[in-house]
């Protein structure tokens, strides 16, 4: 017993205690719910069996039911649009800004830091602001676009089925842009300057330097940013209740919002869990890419 206490105070027991406490907490609050989620997706869950662990076994019935939902393919398409274009927009604009702020001018890092403001704001507030900017009749975005002659009549971003998902995509690009830019800036700063000088002496133009030095040197950073982008986009939830609530007629519902609606609006916890498990597979793929792309980095 004394040896045990001694090791806690002055030995490997101390390390194990520190890691163990965090791990036990994480496993209890994240690991077990995850397994429970998979279990529920194979069970019949309703208001009567909500309180019990052992419920009637449903096999793959929940999965079949979810796929047969009339909204399933629409939601799948929306999720794809949301993920692909949010990531694309965040990455391309973020990369352009990172390249711009990598130029050497006074105040570059301070002004760049201002962009991170979006990152600390509550998602729901960002959603509220964009909901107002995108409003159909009095929204400021329509006015700006009309003044520049891009559109001739107001776009009803939130209530037009053709635009509702894009309204959320625009807001999400704004929200995630700063983080992308920051990570890409870190990657850019790590490229040795003399590579560019050597290329310039050899007569490479700016485009060639970007294509043959910047992109290859940034490969692991880009992999990490894209997979973090995929994970982050699939986590994005707050913008949906704030801007469109998934409407009109599910045209802006994505998987994570649909899953939540199933559980907490329709109280169909089994279907909510089933959709979650389907999403989980996507997230797992992204994580594997992320781990592979950071594996070669030097730790320290």
């Amino acid at each position: 017993m004394r040896r045990f206490l001694g090791s806690l105070r002055d030995g490997a027991g101390f390390d194990i205690l520190l890691v163990g406490a965090a791990m036990v907490f994480l496993i209890a609050m994240a690991g077990l719910p995850l397994i429970y989620n998979v279990l529920m997706s194979f069970q019949q869950v309703d208001m009567f069996t909500l309180g019990s662990l052992i419920r009637p076994w449903a096999g793959f019935q929940n999965y079949i039911d979810v796929v047969r939902e009339p909204a399933f393919w629409l939601v799948a398409k929306n999720t794809f649009i949301f993920v692909f274009f949010s990531m694309g927009g965040q990455f391309v604009i973020g990369f352009a800004l990172a390249l711009f702020f990598a130029q050497n001018f006074p105040g570059a890092s301070t002004i760049r830091g201002l962009f991170l403001v979006s990152w600390v704001m509550p998602g729901l507030v960002v959603g509220a602001i964009w909901s107002w900017i995108l409003a159909g009749d009095f929204g400021v975005l329509n006015t700006i676009l009309k003044n520049f002659g891009v559109i001739s009549s107001n776009i009803f971003w939130k209530s037009d089925p053709a635009f509702s998902i894009w309204a959320v995509v625009i807001a999400n690009i704004w929200l995630g842009l700063a983080f992308n830019m920051l990570l890409l800036s870190v990657g850019l700063a790590a490229i040795p300057r003399d590579l560019y000088e050597a290329a310039e002496l050899d007569g490479a133009n700016a485009f060639q330097r970007f294509w043959t030095i910047t992109l290859p040197m940034m490969r692991s950073t880009i992999g990490a940013v894209l997979s973090l982008g995929l994970i982050g986009t699939l986590q994005q939830f707050d913008l949906f209740p704030a801007i469109t609530e998934g409407g009109p007629a599910n045209t802006s519902t994505v998987a994570q919002f649909w899953s939540w609606q199933m559980s907490f609006k329709l109280y169909d916890f089994a279907k909510g869990a089933t959709i979650s498990v389907m999403m989980l597979i996507l997230v797992l793929i992204a994580s594997i890419i992320y781990v592979r792309s950071t594996r070669h980095e030097v730790r320290g």
């Binding site: 791990m23 609050m29 719910p33 711009f100 301070t110 509550p122 870190v186 707050d238 939540w260």
Partner: protein
């Protein structure tokens, strides 16, 4: 190097880009300063004709914001406390050793971070209802949100601990300190600033926590400000100047802290974010 006027041109472009990017924030404040009729002016005015601040006290009392903000503060404080207490030790150990086990530990911590909250909320809700935790909804939200916030904290704080020289801790051990003593009197004080920045980040992000609170807390007297905002926000809202005033009251403290600590936050993020 480059000629000076190009430098100033770059600064001007940078400021222009920042202005475009921060326009939504400007629009939030400006809308909240406008009167109820001016917000529906067509075309919209980019500077209010007359500044009308009466909406602020109005929203504050009508929406019982002191209750909501107090709950937000409580939840964020709880999340931060749990995250710092459990996460700091974990990050310290993960930074101290290099072995396969550390890689496995780090990987599993990361894996637990990638799960969307909207995925976790269904099993957590059902499990909490079975355990009877739903009668203490704020504590339930704190537990759930802390598990969500901790992996990010561990990864960032681990990077901070990596910068503390091993030799200092070893010197303390040679001088007769126990591991516990060396940890509390040498390593922790040296990593204090990094931990503080990460704790503030955790506090700010859980101050805006929405999905767990919305799903778990039913009683309006216990809900945080995000749920309070969602109560009068939707695709058909028209009450825009109160919504913007509410948002402004909600985010101004966060923004103030961010602007004050901007340098530290950015450097904390850049050192740990990619590792």
């Amino acid at each position: 190097m480059t000629r000076p006027y190009i430098q100033w041109l770059l600064v001007a472009v940078a400021l222009g880009l920042a202005a475009v990017y921060l326009f939504p924030l400007y629009w939030m404040y400006i809308t909240s300063f406008k009167s109820g009729s001016e917000i529906f002016a067509n075309p919209p005015t980019f500077w209010p004709r007359e500044i009308d601040l009466s909406i602020y006290p109005n929203v504050w009392t009508r929406r019982t914001m002191h209750v909501f903000l107090w709950n937000s503060t409580l939840i964020a404080a709880g999340v931060t406390a749990i995250t710092v207490i459990f996460g700091t030790g974990c990050a310290y150990v993960l930074a101290r050793y290099r072995s396969v086990w550390v890689d496995i530990g780090l990987f599993s911590v990361l894996m637990l971070q990638v799960l969307p909250a909207s995925v976790m909320v269904t099993p957590l809700f059902v499990a909490f209802s079975q355990l009877g935790l739903l009668s203490f909804p704020r504590s339930a939200v704190v537990l759930a949100a802390a598990a969500k916030a901790m992996p990010f904290f561990v990864v960032l704080v681990r990077a901070t601990f990596m910068t503390v020289p091993r030799e200092l801790e070893e010197a303390a051990l040679v001088d007769g300190n126990s591991r516990v003593g060396a940890f509390f009197s040498i390593v922790l004080p040296l990593a204090r600033n990094g931990i503080l920045v990460c704790a503030i980040l955790t506090f700010m992000s859980s101050f805006g926590e929405y999905i767990y609170s919305k799903s778990i807390i039913q009683d309006p007297a216990l809900q945080p400000a995000s749920v309070g905002l969602s109560g009068f926000l939707g695709p058909n809202s028209t009450d825009w100047n109160s919504i913007m005033a509410y948002s402004a009251i909600y985010v101004t403290p966060i923004l103030a802290v961010f602007v004050l600590l901007q340098r530290r936050i950015v450097s904390g993020l850049t050192s740990g974010a990619l590792k």
